[in-house]
Symmetry: C2
Subunit: 468 residues, 2 copies
């Protein structure tokens, strides 16, 4: 009865929800440029307060976190909703049809920087909670909200924040809506992400460029040094040859293996989005490689002269930029150590430089976690179709903080349309998908409450103690 | 008696020689920019004519060649002096102490673009011939002059010109003064040059950059494609692994091997000029690698994003620019064929693009050619010290046209100071080295005449027929 009322409330308050979203998107909060982030945090905390959600702005050494909570029963089931209110820089501005911070509705979408990533999605949780507060006597579970202000800058303070406030943040599950639905519009659950380790390999030959005629044969060539090194690091099939690299890769379980076969796959269509005529692999292999296997990538390489004409030099220096995508339970620290050891053995002339920014750990929730089925059923109830369940996504997100620093499992349920253009010009959020998201959150709260009451959901061991 | 008079004439006409050089350097003749080349050719031909040398400007499809000759005895020994009157572009202009085409004397040097490379050096031959014409009854051998107007642009028409005028150009030896003396000022003879084959390897993965998280594991990485290919082309020691690559390398003869040991070598000083603390090899090895062995060089490599920050992409494309330095009797055509075959076998995804510009063949005159000793003795008579004899130089020059297209051996005797700064700002020619050059040319004419009379010099087989 009360759930019906909540959904009705959401339907009846669509236009107000849209106004709230527009107002939020209109506030620039660009962490990379430190523009308007703190102002946006204050606005968001005030908004939560206006809805009856106890909220505050918690400073960190970098950008503040907006924290809110609705505690119905201190010992009851608790869901933590994570999102981020900072946005990517909007540049290049001339590619936007309408200005990025003047949210505009066209074709059933709200255009504006941050509409989908992540303001519209975090707001869905807040508006669902509000509907529960207004149309019933509050949500059926405890809710906690952690809205970060620098996800687009690598979440530098999130882990420390969670560790410091571990007792207060204690939760049974962390729920994250970020990214897009399936291109068909079908819902998706994502159970984790790959990690990322960014490094740069630098080979220095002589301390200056040399004439390749006058010195060719006696001066070392840094490109060839790196080419030979790379050939010892990864084989032509992509398999990494570093000693112990695969040691900690979490085995793919039977449920994960089964899920891979359920995922949508079309080798021609998928190849086309990537820029290849087709893909020389089957669906489970394709998804396994992206989701559950590590990958050694070179994202940039530069040496010598590469402008018009040519310059017959032996370059002094070559630089190779790498990102290694890791999977649970590999760690960036261990892999960096093993890579350094490999390079020191093969060619100590090559320097391994760590790129601090953007390093993230892999994280993966087991697909047979009981909450997965519960959330999937809630999604189906709202959307009328079962979600694809991704054992992980190929990209990297700061999800590891939840199991590592809070001791809680996490589940990802994106709400945005697949073509939200996050990070690009003309970012947008489909209004229907926005309203769907509010309904899904509201439904998920109820479904988790029911399942918790039935005793089928794991509860976080009370590591935080005091708060539970 | 007449040789002494010739040397005296040269000494007495230093100031006039310098005026002639200044006037020639003041005339821009920049082949790369097609600036003033034809005007300079006309001036040079007129200058030869004024000295009593039959001269003309011979058009080619590109820049004209100035041809001159003094035929004393149609069946007699004939020396062809090759040089080039075009110059490198003078930019960047702001690095010149005085304007490049306003020749200026400072510290006993003439500063100006082309002073050393190659106007002062070609003029030395002309002024030596003039001294023989004025102070004696003409040079003791037949002289032919070929002064090219586009050496700095890769000599695109020289080969065809020589083939077309083969009968008229027929000569027993070709004499080239270009480049610099030993840094100590000691004289040098160079018996050849390495060839050069410029190619670009291009690996195309997908037709666009892909997100390394979302596609890492399923999209091909073009940098790794090229790294693996390069590792099959050359081993870590620099040895080329292409099938048949070394087949045509001319064996190093005992005279060449002996010469390598006579060349100046200091591993610390030589390393320092290159930008290395020292060199891990002995002198004969050092010189052998530069002069008599081929070398596979990567002079540029670019892929993906290499600006500030980082971009986690799988690049669509990687480009590797290569110059292969070849030695006699390898040919660029054969090596290109073998490289293409290798690439097609190892990884047909990689394209091999030929860079037409700058391709040159290797060429090497045997060090026991009787003219080498004759010329060396002539140099010693003038300079008071024996020349270093380089079996070849490491760089690439269009010398192959002489044996290939004319059937004549060639010998290089540079006249410029080692720090002439050719190709750079503040190019200059030491006045003493300029006057030395005139004396050396005059002395060489006599020495060759004497040796030819003694029957110890090989004569060109009369391939040209008609002219001999």
């Amino acid at each position: 009865m009360s759930l019906e009322g909540v959904h009705r409330y959401i339907d009846e308050h669509r236009s107000e929800a849209l106004d709230i979203l527009r107002d939020l998107v209109a506030r620039p909060s660009i962490s990379a440029q430190d523009k308007g982030v703190k102002e946006c945090a204050a606005h968001l905390a005030a908004l939560l307060g206006r809805f009856g959600i106890a909220a505050e702005v918690v400073p960190t050494p970098t950008q503040p976190i907006v924290y809110g909570e609705i505690i119905r029963d201190p010992g009851g089931y608790t869901l933590l909703c994570y999102g981020h209110y900072d946005v990517q820089p909007p540049e290049p501005l001339d590619l936007w049809q309408t200005p990025p911070f003047e949210p505009t509705i066209r074709d059933g979408r709200l255009f504006g920087r941050g509409a989908g990533d992540n303001k519209g999605q975090l707001l869905a949780h807040v508006l669902a909670a509000r509907a529960w507060l207004e149309a019933a006597d509050g949500p059926p579970i405890n809710l906690k909200f952690v809205f970060e202000g620098e996800e687009e800058s690598g979440s530098p303070s999130l882990g420390a924040f969670v560790r410091e406030h571990r007792a207060r943040l204690a939760a049974d599950l962390v729920y994250i809506s970020d990214g897009g639905l399936h291109p068909s519009g079908a819902p998706v659950i994502s159970l984790g992400n790959r990690g990322i380790l960014g490094i740069t390999l630098v080979a220095q030959g002589a301390d200056r460029d040399n004439h390749s005629g006058n010195k060719g044969g006696v001066a070392p060539n840094p490109v060839l040094i790196l080419a030979h090194l790379l050939a010892t690091i990864v084989d032509p099939s992509g398999r990494v040859l570093i000693d112990g690299f695969y040691d900690d890769v979490r085995p793919i379980g039977p449920t994960e293996q089964a899920l891979l076969a359920t995922l949508d796959y079309d080798p021609v269509a998928f190849g086309a989005t990537m820029g290849l005529p087709t893909l020389p692999m089957d669906g489970p292999t394709y998804w396994k490689r992206i989701m559950l296997e590590p990958y050694f990538n070179v994202n940039g390489f530069v040496s010598g002269y590469t402008g018009p004409g040519s310059k017959t030099i032996i370059p002094a220096r070559a630089e190779c930029r790498i990102d290694i995508r890791l999977v649970a339970d590999q760690t960036t620290r261990d892999i960096l150590h093993k890579l350094r050891r490999h390079v020191a053995t093969v060619d100590p002339r090559v320097q391994v430089l760590e790129r601090g920014f953007g390093t993230m750990e892999a994280s993966r929730t087991a697909p047979d976690h009981p909450a997965v089925r519960v959330v999937a059923q809630a999604i189906r109830a709202v959307r009328g179709t079962a979600p694809y369940i991704n054992p992980a996504s190929g990209g990297s997100l700061p999800n590891v903080v939840w199991p590592r620093d809070l001791g809680a499992d996490h589940i990802g349920v994106p709400y945005a349309n697949a073509d939200e253009n996050n990070h690009g010009p003309n970012e947008n959020l489909s209004l229907e998908r926005f309203y769907d998201g509010i309904h899904v959150s509201a439904q998920v709260f109820q479904a988790l409450a029911d399942a918790a009451a039935a005793g089928i959901l794991p509860r976080q061991r009370a590591r935080g103690g005091a708060s539970r």
